[in-house]
Symmetry: D2
Subunit: 466 residues, 4 copies
């Protein structure tokens, strides 16, 4: 599963270095590519590359990203269209100047917008939603750039948190449902925006507030101005940000992700207790939930799985396949600790179920007597169309299998999920205040038939870069 | 000075390898970048890179260029905008399919066309004229692709010899003045097009005829069809193709470049004889003219300058500058041969005069008693706007200096140019049948004020890729 | 601080892939370079590169490492001589065949051995101790290779755990003090050797026993044979392997590193209790000790510092330096959790004290009321000369400062170290059974005057590769 | 066929840049690798790389080659052992300082010397003869470095022209037969040495004299000193330097290569006249000989073959092989010129005969009526063991076939070689004054049985780097 991270700053003498630091903090939201566009008031400078922030940027290319304004992006992507052309920010040069956009989220009417633009003669160079926004702006009849952006954004349906930069403005906007997080901060007297507050901690900025659903904020030398893209808005922040995506040291809607995850673990322990000797997390994403489970249940917390810091994207497996090599290279179970124990493993979610199965195998091989899997979120039954890279519905374990069937498939002595009510309680929310479509299928914004992966793939299959 | 080379083939089982061979033969027309687009009838495959054909292509990338149709391009460029984005062919993906274009020449109304397209919302990704053609096609209201291309080409003013490829058509066209060469051939029963006939010799194709000024030829599975872009056409093939650009083993308009160059040398000897001991060429471009001069004058031909085969784009010079290091690394004079001799050096042209000056210095240093420079073309007094990269007018030695002044500047004992009439006679042409604007300033197609380098640079300066 | 990791396998059809997997598990012992040498019985194949295992090896180069025998190495190094020439294994070609060596440890008489060999005409190509071993073997008068190696090893003083491979033998040896770990295992009926048992878990091998101090084991098609290098041996396994180097899922001398570290934490809590609200580790190396401290003290365990998985070797810092940028990019403190809390931070060791200082600053900035640092090892007062890259003595915080002075320097409310007795108790050992020289200065093998960094640097300074 | 080039300079403030320029002029002697070692009096700096000088060196790496003394090397090599380890100069660090060697030639007792050194424990890292010299020096008992080198050189049999550099001496030496050229010059008051005088022209140095066969010259801050390696010396400069290797603008033994080649062509015309319409060279190596032939015979000289400047090492050929693609990509015949003509092609030598065959095919295909091949050297019947990369004897066309058979094989209307006496006359020499072993089999230095390629390959096959 994946997402993206964005960052922006306006008016700082070291704008691109601050943006680079911000991207470092947002790296968990996407490792496929990283990019920065900066502006010195008359020219937009651009650098992007495949891979992690630490590999893409160096002193030399950062130094060339001149100017006091900058936006940055880290991208997560499915493998199919992983290439530098799709890396963001995307920057173009129009008659009256340059502009760049970086965005997080998924536009559900992207396919029909693109068809319409292409019918009008537009030539696309990427398969990214962001380029659609640029074409809409470029073709706008509005003479005022801010008006042109508003008009463009009003045509978009779906999820977007975005930052836009031209020669003298930094504009940030969030879709009317507020699917993806986006927040505003201040450092050294200037404004910064970021996907998550952990980026503010990194650069030493102070959190001011979240950008509101449907809000567009224009930052320029004239100061800051807020306006609404749409009149009708709602609160539909993706609840998975609490469960998995955001870093535990971030705050969402003013709430600590760390504490929320511990609460999920505590409620899970209340809802689904089990008689066991130790509680272990699947590190690092389930650390908090496992700690909550351990505290509530009174069962000792242990680090039964050691996570490697050196895993690559691909491994070369022996032909006589070592069982579960991919899991083995990521985690190693602590033999002496597990021997003869009844173990509760806490994981944050189950997507396909294959990793869970491998982990349970590994624990048993290392001597565990019983393995009970506790999941700190409800069963995922539906795909996400708002920017998270979930597999198609039929690949989701819980879309067609009961909990008992999954329990049996993964080989656990018992499997229990956190209830949806339990999750709501942990987050402190109620129905209609967060997007929970992946657990219920109730999509806040309707999904056009052609918006699925299939339609997108149609577009993509025409664009073969090698 | 520079130019570009194009190649195309339709219906051959090894289309991309044949195109690669053709580009090898056209390499002298441009060494900055090389590219091929091929088609298997449903998908367009694409590969391009910076540098010479031998460095860009290898077995692996050629193998991926599938299909029986292909077009290729080698590019010459000024340094400013030397980047992979401007490498050709340029390929884009539209709603109803992909298309690619490679072209040689310069569109003089490029700036105004681009302004117009950008006003209509078009987003450009390169500074190449070719992209303008693609946008014109993309925005055409014509439902038929051939009509759309005709309409697009009719908007272009200036010089173009181009090849276009989509899923099932190879289209080649030449501007109504026929500035740049373009010829049609046949091999293994299928059609090929190329900038010069030497590419046909390379691939084993037979020359059929030149593409006519203003002609567009459509090659498809239905065969070959010729149509005229414009009713009014003229013959204005660039006469410099005879003097310098084309390879001596090519034929232009059915005439041997080799023999034409020897004639230039012979007429030059008639017009400007001198009492001397040896005639030497500036190798290799002046070999033929020097041989002609030697034969006509009866003065022995010698290889007084040895050309290095290993010169790079840039040299590192010692700080205590060795005099004329750049010329020295390109040519070495044969000391024993020159010692005490009266030498006639034949060169094909003088642009700025600096190289001539260095060569004359070198010959004297190696012992030459007298050095007489004979140039096998008239003084270049005007810049070219039709695709040849000449310097701005004021940098041209002959634009503001008399022959005597240049003679003195370069330090020759005597300097003589071939007369314009002598050149016409050697080529077998008369006024109005070739473009000779660089010698006379009579431009066959008017040059818009903003068409100069300056306007282009305005566009380019907005597009800074790093 | 750093170390190296070695691996070897004899007789497996996928020897190089298994070795690659083993190196993956040993990656924490060295990330500077990685290499494998394999043998098919007549030729030795070789590949090595700078960086982590995942970046150095791919399917293509692994496939070329043919044969059923292989040895591998991951290297840690100081920056000065970080280059591919020093990467291991080192392989050479002698008159009677090829041979390769990979080793972990530091030869204290390396300088004098090298001087002696060079006086005899030997030409060195690296600054690595391993090359000394190869020259000793190459110059041996022993006709038998096993004898030659024994003779060579007997000249070495200091620490070494090594694997040697020639066309038909895998030899592994450990110095008479047994400074660095080395163990023997079996998988699929063949023998494997590795620095740590976690590599056996990775490849699915079974642990047999440790290689004994002073033992040399020859594995060939004739089976396995053990012999002693020296008669007099001792037990001086580096106690820092328990504290920091080895992975928690490894066993040393049959004892679980994980459990030993928890015991260190428990004893530390007994020895140095403190009234506080939460216990947090410096992740991940102090996780076990912190958990032990929390359990023993009854103070809740929390993840107060989040460790980034994406840190690079170097960061670009803003010029107006953000305070403690390097620590900040590695760890982020969880603001809401720490706010107003009295915090116990557990760390495994203090070297210079600068990192501790930065972490404490960070915790305070995020709201901690009190910060008490507990260190699960005694003060490091002396440099290591047996293979661990500790700084020179004067850079060690505890070599010249009292605990009170360090406490004040790092800004902790209190600082307490585990006592040496406490450490011994946790490890279950007594004086003379492990090397504890870094805490006491009692070096089991005398350090020649010229063995320090200074002498080595003298050698290195002559060998400047660029 | 191939060779190597060496250059050295002592006492110039821009020693490495001058060396780089010198290597540029010697590039024709080897394009496989290039390297420079410089010295500032205390440290030896080193850079080398694969490929041509222009690709290996840049401002950055040249700037790091500090100091006022430098030696350089360009290498030609057979494909088998083409790797960076064999690139020269080779530099090593011994106990008492660093030293580097670059050499041109082939040591015929290399194999036995290497065996002997390896038996004594020496570890080799390359397959280059130069490393043998370094090991001999390193193991010398002579306390004086000059003595040590003399002793080492006295053990070598075969061909060598070498330059040696240590912290404060530049030493140059030539084998007692003087197989390969080597000359001494002066520029800006300091001494330079080079394989050919064309390098002196390039850097602006003045030719002083040739280094004598068996002479060793020591250049240091104490001035220049000459000594003899052997008492008994002879004159056996490789006559092929006149025919092919040296650049025409160089002088050998004070004689112009250019004029010597023209004489070969003139004598060839006298010896083997033919009734024809034009004389054409195989460019560029046969230009001078062809011009001589044309002048003597009175048949007009023409450029019937155009040589491409852009040929790479490997070409991708179409599967339905275009006939003679490799020759075609290197040369193109000028169709109009050849049509219906009786053509004399002059080539400098025939090795295997395959290229001649392809060129003759090409000329006929382009319309030539008759093709007469004239070769400006005698038939090559024996392999060279003194540094020129000729094929094994059986691959040499003339080793087993008569002139008539070769004529028939290559498809010429007539084939004639220059007689050995004609060659001697052109060079102005007599029997015993030059090495002509490739034409006669009379080797001036006996070739040990194991000195052939086969023995060398035995060594090489053990050293597989990948």
């Amino acid at each position: 599963m994946g997402d993206c991270g964005i960052f922006g700053i306006y008016g700082h003498s070291e704008a691109s270095v601050i943006t680079y630091m911000g991207l470092y903090a947002l790296q968990h939201r996407g490792q496929e590519s990283a990019g920065i566009v900066s502006s010195d008031g008359s020219i937009l400078y651009h650098y992007k590359g495949m891979g992690e922030v630490r590999f893409v940027f160096n002193e030399e290319n950062l130094r060339k990203l001149k100017g006091s304004r900058a936006i940055g992006h880290v991208r997560y992507s499915t493998t199919g269209t992983s290439n530098i052309y799709n890396a963001q920010p995307i920057k173009v040069d129009l008659l009256d100047g340059s502009l760049a956009v970086a965005h997080n989220g998924n536009i559900v009417n992207a396919y029909s917008l693109r068809r319409e633009l292409e019918s009008g003669g537009a030539i696309f160079h990427t398969t990214s939603d962001s380029e659609i926004i640029l074409h809409l702006i470029s073709r706008s009849k509005d003479r005022d750039r801010v008006e042109a952006i508003l008009t463009a954004l009003r045509k978009l349906e779906g999820a977007y948190s975005l930052v836009y930069l031209d020669e003298d403005r930094l504009i940030t906007a969030r879709d009317p449902c507020g699917f993806r997080p986006l927040c505003l901060g201040r450092m050294d007297g200037v404004f910064v925006v970021a996907s998550e507050t952990c980026a503010f901690d990194m650069v030493g900025a102070e959190y001011i507030r979240d950008i509101k659903p449907g809000e567009m904020v224009v930052i320029s030398k004239d100061g800051i101005e807020s306006m609404m893209i749409h009149k009708s808005v709602s609160n539909n922040l993706c609840i998975f940000e609490y469960i998995y995506f955001s870093r535990p040291d971030s705050c969402l809607e003013g709430k600590s992700v760390y504490q929320t995850r511990k609460k999920m673990g505590r409620i899970l322990a209340e809802e689904s207790p089990v008689d066991a000797d130790i509680v272990i997390p699947v590190p690092d994403s389930s650390n908090c939930a496992a700690l909550g489970y351990a505290e509530e249940s009174g069962i000792p917390f242990e680090f039964g799985l050691i996570r490697s810091h050196y895993i690559g994207r691909t491994f070369i497996e022996p032909e006589q396949k070592t069982r579960d090599f991919d899991a083995r290279i990521k985690y190693n179970a602590v033999r002496n600790l597990l021997d003869g124990k009844r173990v509760v493993v806490v994981d944050d979610s189950i997507v396909r179920g294959t990793t869970s199965s491998k982990i349970i195998n590994m624990l048993r091989r290392m001597g565990a007597d019983e393995v009970h899997l506790r999941v700190s979120s409800p069963p995922i039954t539906h795909s996400c169309f708002y920017g998270i890279d979930t597999p198609t519905r039929k690949e989701l374990a819980a879309s067609s299998s009961s909990v008992e069937e999954i329990e049996s498939f993964i080989g656990a002595d018992s499997l229990r999920y956190l209830s949806l009510d339990g999750l709501m309680k942990a987050v402190g929310t109620k129905r209609g205040k967060h997007c929970i479509a992946c657990f219920t299928g109730d999509y806040p914004v309707p999904i056009p038939e052609e918006a699925g992966k299939e339609a997108l793939e149609k577009v993509i299959s025409r664009i073969r870069l090698f």
